[in-house]
Symmetry: D4
Subunit: 191 residues, 8 copies
């Protein structure tokens, strides 16, 4: 009878809509950590679709306490088993020296950043003796930065997952391994 | 001559690939803050395309210090003028009571969370007297939570932008205003 | 020879055009009873195509004597074996109280509805001591109403079929089981 | 700002989902009355789309008390201004003589139909001295039947609308005016 | 080697371009005889494609000496084994009585048609004692006419093929067998 | 009102289905005379569509008495004003010498063709003193043949139309003017 | 794990981008030598795609020292095993007599061509006693020219490959074998 | 009349097929000089289509005497006014040192290259005192090589055209200006 076909569709939609409550993991049991840059087609670059993976994105694709919080929750409670980090060339985190960034933020704050709640929902959060530049975490070299983020996640006690990282080249629309840039190499003669 | 056409294409690609370095903002001067849930088609739900907006996503779409960091950078340095927050129904942040989450994380850490670096790249970061549950920030009511995130961003001294928020209904594939749920209303008689 | 191919096409068209006269049932031996609301994509919602099912539709998707007439004919004479009822949220039958509807109809009739033939082709039809509101049959709760229509059909001596019912949510474009609304549930914390 | 675009989409969806409650009529202010036959592509044949018109369908596309109820509600309360009737060739209502139908129903009822509630939700409904065949309302000639249904609706005091009717030819996939059959005419010589 | 692929393509094109010279028959070894009317989609109606069949078309789809010439050549020399005749409703050959046609042609000739070469390339061709109307061959009934053309071809000594005929209904876009019109039948009650 | 839209569609279909009876000409008032070869995409080659033109086709695209009959009827009675002749390369009419064809037909007839009715529906038709080869009308040169067919039609008293002709090259899929072959020319040096 | 899928894509792109450096040959191990004429769809005509073959093109598709250089490199170092030559009708190399070309070039040079470096990057290159017309190498007959280019490549000691040639007909969009022109043949009667 | 439409199509095809003979230039009056590498989508990269430009391609996209011959012919006789040079990364001309190439060719020749006709159709062609490596012309740096080819063409007395050059990056599928590589730049911090 046709109602069995309809029932199956109704049940599938219920699984989708109450997925978290029912304890159903993402289709690929995957968390992606990527930069928030507007030029990164995260799903397309990784070959994933809606439902496949949770996607964490922030300025620079850097491992912060928020990444640890998010990764801990999904690996401990939502059956996520794998993390893929995606950084990218021409990242905004490479667009200025530390000094310029700190000065800009102080100007915005109208003075010293010590008087500002870095986390408005959790005023107790502080960075102690570290400087604002440490908290902003600009990037010197995107390939090295990517490798470092992989390491931070891989070694963290609250995060239980296989971790890999890639650099997305905005100039080519391709992923490369950290350190795997070939653009210089292939423009000159083999010796 | 045809080389003018080719030059224009080469220049447009250079603008795309070196956009940040050249100080070109996102096409809509927009930052989206959304949950990292695998069921949220952020671009489709908001009617935006690659290039239009930076997209910050974390567990719960909550305003953390990382959101402040990211929002401060883009509004102060990248000409971003607007922020849209997207929370959603059946969020994982509503799937357990605080106690259960804290216990789970402690078990993962093999003991007390005080001994764990919440931010492996910034060990100085601490939450002081706040409890782990405060840092995890679970959600009681998704509509109220959405309104609160909007308020946090709107009032923060480092963030300079117009802020609005919406709840994405995973059961309907539609956005609603916070508090704008109609599902109960339209299932019974008008009185 | 090619004429055999052409003959087969001619015969198939004859089966379609004289289907009723030749005693050929619907492809799924199915009758759908649904509301006449302009927002219900009956075929799409049920996953059926032209030829699969007869589709009865009236104001509210309510079981009237006309539904009994139509269902009796198709189950007794056209080999239909299954009935699916589709009601929907925001139904017009929930848009006003009984009093307002009766008053509106009396105003349209220019007085008492007793003087009007409820069935112009069958003036002998009457509703006896029942009130006009009973005949109009407004809806208090769409989920309970759906369950009731299923029961009316399931128990009627002239109707011989398996009967199931669903509520179509116009806000989500999804079917639910009667009573299966989840929208409230997934907006707040699990306790 | 982009939130204005999002707001407009949220509001449009609210209009769709609460259309009846907000008193928004169908897009064409149109009610269609058609047969429930599985071969009638009602929307395609009339060139209408989801949202354009309410669609009443029963066995034969006949004007019953349920049609009057439904048409009265939509023309008096939902701003509907036009009704289109669609009957069709090879209708099941022409597939047997009255006697055969009445006998079949009596056999299904296990005896006399007087003991059966014609309307299980409104047991007070009766057809008085009329026979079962009058209630079943088989069809002798589909073109004359179509014209009659138009007349019943056009003249009824509770129904306030412009009314037109067409016969859908299942053999050609085309609509014709009642009495407008040309198939015989164009198969022989003009005299 | 790739040149083998190219050679195969070159050879296939040579077969197509010199098909007749090489004695290659049509793909379905089929000849269609149809009316020249602008509304007949001959290939679509029969489910054939370019290359499948030779297609003879004249006024009325009538078997003339030119049809016999063409059918004799293809069945005797080009391996054609089957003929399908396609006549159609609303044929121009039914649009006037014999008298009107003969008068019109005489007016065009400026007098008697006896003085006109019916075949300008073969002035010896004559119709002897037959009248012009016999040569024009108007149609009284399209179904009977179709059956007659099938018979003429089937019995002719120079034509060696299986012969079938269909009437294409311009009103429905469907083929029927000669005499297989159902339009009247399905508009009235079964007795 | 929407019924006006429906009425317009019903009327347009009536014009199509009773076009000849209503005296409506082809959309381009055009008759095409072409060969019946299976490789000629007549509509595509001429850039015409269903409804644009009547299409006469026989063996060789030759002007016979049947062409005169068909062309006379459409130019005198159906408002056709233009004729286009399409012959083609590799025509079957060039595939054998006259003797071989005549012998083949005599063999098929089992003797002399004088004893065969060339037109089974019009036994009075005869070719007098002409030979069978004259009636078969094989082709020596396709470009000259095309020009001759144009002349026959242009000069015939019963045919009132502008006449042009083209040769369709099956080897190139292109039309050329009669005598306009360039294939040799462009394979060698300009002198 | 999903990173294996991503790794495979990254590796495949590296093979493409560093193909030559990694010693990966073309997909079909094929070199095409064709004319530079703007009307030759080389890939489409040969049924090849990006990656399949290296494509050498010059004025006339003639075997010059540059062809020998290019063919030697690819057959000796890049595993190319096959060469296909494509010449074409209406080639510019047939558009003028030798005298006119030499005069034109001398006028452009403002005098004697002996004073011009034929190869600006290799001034030592000279044509000795040969005339300018020998170096320009106009074409008398495109089919013979094609056969000659095949022979030059096939016999050259530095070129190690299977060699075939075709003439592309710009008038038909088809390839033919050298000498395989059929256009004249199929326009006249078989004898 | 429709024949005017057909005539226009026949004439346009004649212009295409006899373009060179009629003195019609390429649609963009453009010559492209590119490498023969199988990964260069020349038309797509430059945004041109069939008919727009002549395309010269050889090993390395180097300016040889054959390029001068081809460019001289098209700029002096075919109204070409512009030349675009396309070199590319990972070119085979950078895949080995000079010594290795010369040794490989000598091995293929079975000894000294002095005994080999570099141009089999023009044995008088010699490279005088230059070495084989000079004739092979390997590439050290692709950006410098591209600029040099532009200069050779721009300065040559037989070539009369505007000349521009680009490097096609096989790793990104993008063109760059010679020297315009950005891949290193955008992977590290702005200082």
């Amino acid at each position: 009878h046709h109602h069995e076909y309809v029932d199956a569709a109704v049940d599938a939609h219920d699984d989708w809509a109450r997925r978290r409550r029912k304890g159903i993991p993402t289709d690929k049991q995957l968390l992606v950590v990527a930069c928030m840059d507007e030029r990164i087609p995260v799903e397309g670059a990784l070959g994933i679709e809606l439902g496949d993976a949770q996607i964490y994105r922030n300025a620079g694709g850097k491992v912060t306490d928020d990444v640890i919080r998010s990764a801990a929750l999904t690996t401990q409670f939502f059956d996520t088993e794998e993390i893929i980090v995606v950084n990218h060339t021409d990242c905004g985190m490479m667009s200025a020296p530390d000094d310029a960034v700190v000065e800009g933020l102080e100007a915005a704050a109208g003075g010293d950043l010590d008087d500002v709640d870095l986390d408005p929902a959790l005023p107790e959060l502080s960075i102690g003796d570290a400087g604002v530049a440490d908290w902003v975490r600009m990037t010197d070299d995107i390939d090295k930065a990517c490798a470092a983020q992989v390491r931070y996640l891989d070694e963290h006690p609250l995060v239980d997952a296989t971790v890999h990282g890639y650099v997305y080249e905005v100039e080519s629309g391709q992923l490369r391994y950290p350190g795997g840039r070939i653009a210089e190499e292939i423009s000159t003669r083999v010796e």
